[in-house]
Symmetry: C2
C-alpha cells in the first residue's frame, strides 16, 4: 500500500483552530491524537484509540480506520485479522483539534473489542460512598 | 470541599484488568485518563477531556464531572462558571481501563463547548483525494 506521509499543517492561532477550515490536528508529544469510534447503526460508543499522522493519513485515504497501537508500538489496521474493519462514514474533530470522532460501519461480526464484545465499555463503575471506593460491575458479554 | 485523595489501586494482571471487578484506572505518565462525555438525552458525544486521580475521585464522590484542564494545568469543575454542570448518570471504563465513558445530564443551557456550541465536535473532516489533503467543513452553530 502506498501512502503519502500526509502533510498535516501545524496548528495556527486559536481562532483559526477553533473556527477555521484548516485541518490541523494537534498531536501530543508522542505524536498521537485520541479518536473515538461510534457505531453508525445506533451512535453507540465502541472504543477509544489513538492515531498518529501516518494512521490518520491512511484512514483518510482508504476510508477505513487505522490506529496506532500504543501497546504494540505499530500501525494497526483495525479488523485486518478479525474482519472487524471499520468503514469510516464520517470524521469530526473538536474545538481545539486534539480529538477525533469517527462514525463507522463495522465489518465481520460487527464487534470491536478484542475481548469478543461489541464495544470496549462493557463495565460500569459504581461508587461505594461508605467505603470511599469505586468498583466495577461484573463484566457482561 | 473535602475530598479524599482516592486510593485507586494499580492495575493488576491483564485478566483482572479486563474481566475483574476492581477499578484500576490506568493513568498515563502525566497521571491522566481520557474521558468521553455523552449526553443522556440522546447519546450524542459531547466532548473528550481528561481526568487525573483527584478529578476522578471528585467526580465519583460528587456525581458531577470534574476534569483536569491540561491547558490551564488545574482542576476543572465543568460548569462551575457557565452553569453547564454535568451530572453523571453512569460511568463506564473500557477493556484495559485507560479510558472512561460518562453519560451526563447537562445543566444550564444544555451546552458543553466553550465556543458556545452544544458539543465540541462541530466540524466534519473531508478528504480531497486529488489534492491529497483534508479540510474541515465551515463551523456551524
Amino acid at each position: 500500500m502506498s501512502t503519502r506521509a500526509a502533510a498535516f499543517d501545524a496548528p495556527g492561532a486559536r481562532a483559526e483552530v477553533e473556527e477555521g477550515t484548516a485541518f490541523t490536528p494537534r498531536f501530543d508529544r508522542d505524536g498521537l491524537v485520541a479518536c473515538i469510534a461510534v457505531d453508525a447503526r445506533d451512535g453507540r460508543v465502541l472504543m477509544l484509540a489513538h492515531m498518529n499522522a501516518e494512521s490518520l493519513a491512511r484512514t483518510l485515504e482508504t476510508g477505513e480506520a487505522w490506529y496506532w497501537s500504543r501497546s504494540r508500538g505499530e500501525l494497526w489496521h483495525k479488523g485486518a485479522t478479525s474482519g472487524q474493519i471499520q468503514r469510516v462514514v464520517e470524521m469530526r474533530t473538536d474545538c481545539d483539534q486534539d480529538a477525533l470522532l469517527i462514525t463507522v460501519e463495522v465489518g465481520g461480526d460487527g464487534g470491536c473489542c478484542h475481548t469478543g464484545r461489541r464495544a470496549c465499555f462493557y463495565r460500569t463503575v459504581s461508587w461505594d460512598a461508605a467505603a470511599g471506593r469505586a468498583a466495577l460491575a461484573p463484566a457482561g458479554a
